[in-house]
């Protein structure tokens, strides 16, 4: 993480190329054969058409053809077949892309999709194959666009969104308008210059082009600088812009198309313009209104689905889609409707549906949007490699230039104004990042492609220009934004830090995250509180299921623990075989001279294995759901904490001092470890195991799972997990590793001493422990460990006698 080097870039391509040759081969073969057969079919069909009567007659009397055993009917499946091939191809490429783990951090995934699309386009062009008509207006607007927007709306983190909603609306709304009109007007002025041969492009067409080229897709680059941990409001601005931008562009686009379809340009009066503005507002607000209504309806319905949880995802998707369609019927903005629907219903639906439905919904949404986007990009690639381009140097270059200029203008101007009203203004660095993340995506291309040719005789030029802008922004800006963000972040990325510094930095990051969590989120209190009150009093009562068993969370947690414990044992983390540790005492006095490689490897270990600091923002990746590492990490930490908590609660059980080791069996409960010397350790382990199986209590199962194996480990885990009260039955105390301190013999010798060891656990006897300092390593280890970890108050001691009695 601290060392990003550029050479990764070149190596990345080698990785996913191996995948591609197979796919290309497959694709080529697949296309060639059908080629041949479709020609064949063509000819047979044509002959048949020439003499239909003959055919029927022939069929009536006696067939002159044999029934063919093998036949190829490619036409029948052509469209779904090729579409499926495309999607598979993109998925294979994505697998390759992610295999090399540094690559996603270098370039956005849209780059990959575009490359795949271009390759498919090249193949189709090369084989002169007619590509299936995936993209026409109705298919795009009815089937391809809604999933993309739904996914964006669903995964948006609501709290930061509403906290920053003023800035987001101001920036997204006005920004889109400024960009659209700015670019349109500037291009119009350019078109007026006779030398470029563009004078037939009138103002309306330029404005329309401006509106479609200003549809940015900045979320695509979020994955690239995610690691730089941009601050939350910045993240939200980018996300919010992406979300609202599509909707606004489409609304503008439709209005301008309506204008274009109207009378000629000269007939447009100010009244029309005002009507256009009013329409803009109504379309936007109306769409949101529809979306909210549908969101509430679907949340309400999910309240009753506990018995047929299989249809829960269906309800969610169908209602969202319905909101889109209903809004489109009334010429309102379907995009804003579906976004509002997703945002509204998310909170309630998540509480109502079962865990598996929730997961299904998330994954299915990602899948749908990913399929849509893939198809659009591939189609973009197909139309790139083709003969239908019109290249006009002036138009294209100026388009590029104006896109950047107007984006810069809108960013800096709008943020300057909104900073006056914000408690935490956006710095210039943030604004630069926002400016630079103006990457265009599938949205612009689709709108350009769907321009009606009748109204736009120079449509090809527009398409070419759009393609150029997309390629430029995605590749050049997408790849360079990572280094730019890291540079702006003033991170000393290239300097090798010493191990000390790494450790301390990570500690401070964790500390800072923790303190931030203690401080909580600060927002506009009044509005949020009022909404929360309203929500609690009315909405939740209506929309959320009654009798939500709170214990479902608890049982889930326990299941997690048990499952993890079982896994750990099975994967050998807690294997007893790993035991054998040199004596502790000598270590500390010997100052080892470490070679640089050792230091290097240590640093490596640290970097790779230290827990990540918790991201306070929901980090959003457009193409992937968050990988499991953070969950795994959270589980580990939680389990460890649970154990230390339980341990600390059990500290109250006092071990009567001075009892010889032998008698501690009976009172094992009172102190967590200390086991008579395991001459027959293995047999004892076996016995423990047997006992364990009879135990039904979940927590203790886990403990036993650990204790059974975890006696004398090197594995760090045991030190954290094991020292819980293990409740071995039948009076066999479990032995908690004095971790590295013990070889068998040592342990034998210290049996009695071992009995005293747990002492430092207890508050009450801390002071006595201090005197035991001379025992050296182990004791100080335990002391620092326990007294540090467990400082719970004395009241805990007494409260836990009931637990004691139970056994």
């Amino acid at each position: 993480m601290t060392y990003r080097v550029g050479e990764a870039h070149s190596m990345g391509f080698q990785v996913f190329v191996p995948f591609s040759p197979w796919s290309w081969l497959l694709l080529l073969v697949a296309l060639k054969c059908p080629e041949a057969s479709s020609d064949l079919n063509e000819s047979t069909n044509s002959t048949a058409q020439r003499e239909p009567n003959v055919r029927f007659a022939a069929a009536g009397s006696e067939p002159d053809e044999k029934i063919s055993v093998f036949a190829l009917d490619y036409d029948y499946v052509q469209i779904p077949y090729e579409v499926t091939l495309w999607i598979l191809l993109a998925s294979l490429a994505k697998i390759g892309f992610h295999l090399y783990h540094r690559l996603p951090g270098l370039m956005p995934e849209s780059c990959l999709l575009i490359i795949v699309g271009a390759l498919v386009g090249a193949i189709i062009f090369g084989t002169d194959h007619k590509s299936p008509p995936v993209m026409d207006s109705s298919i795009y607007f009815l089937y391809l666009l809604p999933p993309i927007v739904l996914e964006g709306g669903y995964f948006m983190p609501t709290r930061p969104f509403f906290e920053n909603i003023g800035s987001i609306l101001w920036w997204a709304g006005l920004g889109a308008l400024i960009n659209a009109f700015g670019i349109g007007l500037s291009l119009y002025l350019i078109c007026q210059i006779k030398a470029f041969g563009l004078s037939d492009v009138n103002l309306l067409q330029n404005l329309l082009f401006g509106s479609l080229i200003s549809a940015v897709d900045p979320v695509a680059v979020l994955a690239v600088f995610e690691e730089a941990r941009v601050n939350e409001p910045l993240y939200m601005m980018i996300f919010g812009e992406a979300l609202l931008n599509d909707g606004i562009s489409v609304v503008l686009y439709n209005i301008l198309i309506a204008f274009t379809k109207m009378h000629k340009f000269e007939d447009i009066e100010p009244v029309d313009i005002l009507a256009g503005c009013a329409r803009f507002v109504i379309v936007g607000v109306g769409g949101v209104f529809f979306g909210v209504i549908f969101g509430f309806i679907s949340a309400f319905i999910t309240r009753f689905t506990q018995n047929i949880s299989a249809i829960e995802p269906l309800i969610v998707f169908m209602f969202s889609y319905l909101s889109y369609l209903a809004a489109e019927t009334l010429y309102l903005s379907g995009i804003l409707a579906i976004t509002a629907c997703a945002v509204t219903m998310k909170k309630y639906v998540e509480e109502n549906v079962s865990q598996t439905s929730y997961t299904t919904i998330k994954y299915f949404m990602k899948m749908l949007s990913s399929v849509s986007e893939t198809l659009i990009f591939i189609f973009m690639g197909v139309s790139t490699v083709g003969k239908n381009h019109e290249w006009n140097w002036a138009f294209i270059c100026f388009t590029l230039v104006f896109c950047q200029i107007w984006r810069a203008i809108s960013v800096f101007a709008l943020f300057y104004v909104s900073n006056q009203f914000r408690t935490f203004p956006f710095s210039i660095k943030d604004q630069c990042i926002i400016f630079y993340s103006g990457v265009r995506g599938a949205g612009s291309f689709s709108l350009a492609f769907l321009l009606p040719l009748s109204l736009f005789p120079r449509k090809k030029m527009f398409v070419t220009a759009t393609l150029v802008v997309i390629y430029f922004t995605v590749f050049i800006q997408g790849i360079t934004i990572g280094p730019l963000v890291r540079y702006l972040d003033v991170k000393k990325t290239n300097k090798k830090e010493s191990i000390n510094e790494e450790l301390h930095i990570r500690l401070m990051d964790h500390l800072k995250a923790g303190i931030e969590d203690v401080c909580g989120h600060w927002s506009h209190y009044q509005v949020r509180d009022k909404f929360k009150k309203f929500d609690h009093r009315y909405l939740r009562k209506i929309l959320i299921r009654k009798n939500q068993p709170k214990s479902s969370i608890v049982s889930l947690y326990k299941k997690l623990e048990m499952k993890q414990a079982i896994e750990m044992v099975e994967t050998g983390i807690l294997s007893t075989a790993a035991f054998s540790v040199p004596c502790q005492a000598q270590r500390i006095h010997r100052i080892k001279r470490l070679s640089p490689e050792d230091v290097e490897s240590m640093r490596d270990i640290l970097t790779r294995n230290m827990y990540q600091v918790r991201q306070r923002t929901l980090s959003y990746n457009k193409y992937n759901l968050k990988p499991q590492t953070s969950e795994k990490q959270a589980k580990e930490i939680l389990i460890r904490r649970q154990n230390t908590l339980r341990e600390s609660m059990r500290k109250g059980h006092s071990l009567p001092w001075g009892k010889p080791a032998g008698t501690k069996n009976i009172r094992y409960l009172s102190f967590p470890y200390g086991r008579p010397q395991p001459a027959g350790r293995d047999t004892r382990v076996a016995e423990l195991t047997d006992n364990d199986s009879s135990d039904s209590e979940l927590p203790s199962i886990m403990f036993k799972a650990h204790s059974r194996a975890g006696i004398l480990q090197e594995s760090r885990l045991t030190q954290e997990i094991i020292p819980m009260k293990s409740l071995p039955r039948g009076g066999k105390p479990s032995h908690f590793g004095y971790q590295r301190n013990t070889s068998q013999e040592e342990h034998d010798g210290r049996g009695r001493r071992g009995a005293l060891r747990p002492k430092p656990l207890f508050h009450a006897v801390d002071e006595e422990f201090e005197s035991g300092e001379e025992s050296g390593e182990e004791t100080s280890a335990i002391r620092s460990r326990w007294s540090g970890e467990h400082r719970p108050t004395r009241q805990h001691h007494r409260s836990h006698s009931p637990l004691l009695q139970r056994k």
Binding site: I505, H510, L511, V518, W522, N609, Y611, A781, S787
Partner: protein, 192 residues
Amino acid sequence: MRGVRRAPGIAGAGSRGPVSQASLLRLYHRFRALDRNKKGYLSRMDLQQIGALAVNPLGERIIDSFFPDGNLRLDFPGFVRVLAHFRPIDDEDPGIRDPKEPEPLNSRMNKLRFAFQLYDLDRDGKISRHEMLQVLRLMVGVQVTEEQLESIADRTVQEADEDGDGAVSFLEFTKSLEKMDIEQKMSIRILK
């Protein structure tokens, strides 16, 4: 609420107070929100119920740092006092500070001292090798073996330890971090 500002301990070090007025108000709201049973003080349990702290590897220690000297109750001044360490350092008026007044809580030294206390559990003023090892254990995933951890802890102490006593004192700690931008790492914007 007005009285909070004048409550003992809130006045803090320096004329500017530990945190700004606006932040103080927000912290007070937060304190009230955390205090579920409206007891007027916070107990450990209240802080433990902050979900996000539970998955923080240093969660327990952070909570401990709010309860110094074995206190059981955290009142509002104490709450603010701890959080004041994380206020961003003002660059504005370095010269105005009266040298006789105690250092403001959010000075670099005090921030470092706060971090130091996370390591030094027994408060002996030194981070022993074991304390370092404890912290390492907390912060590293389960797949690292004990031996590796020990050698890393060894090395860490060795790097910082100058007087050869096998432990890292506070001065050695500060020295090892002199190149770090502590102010930025241990500052929280919202406490400005």
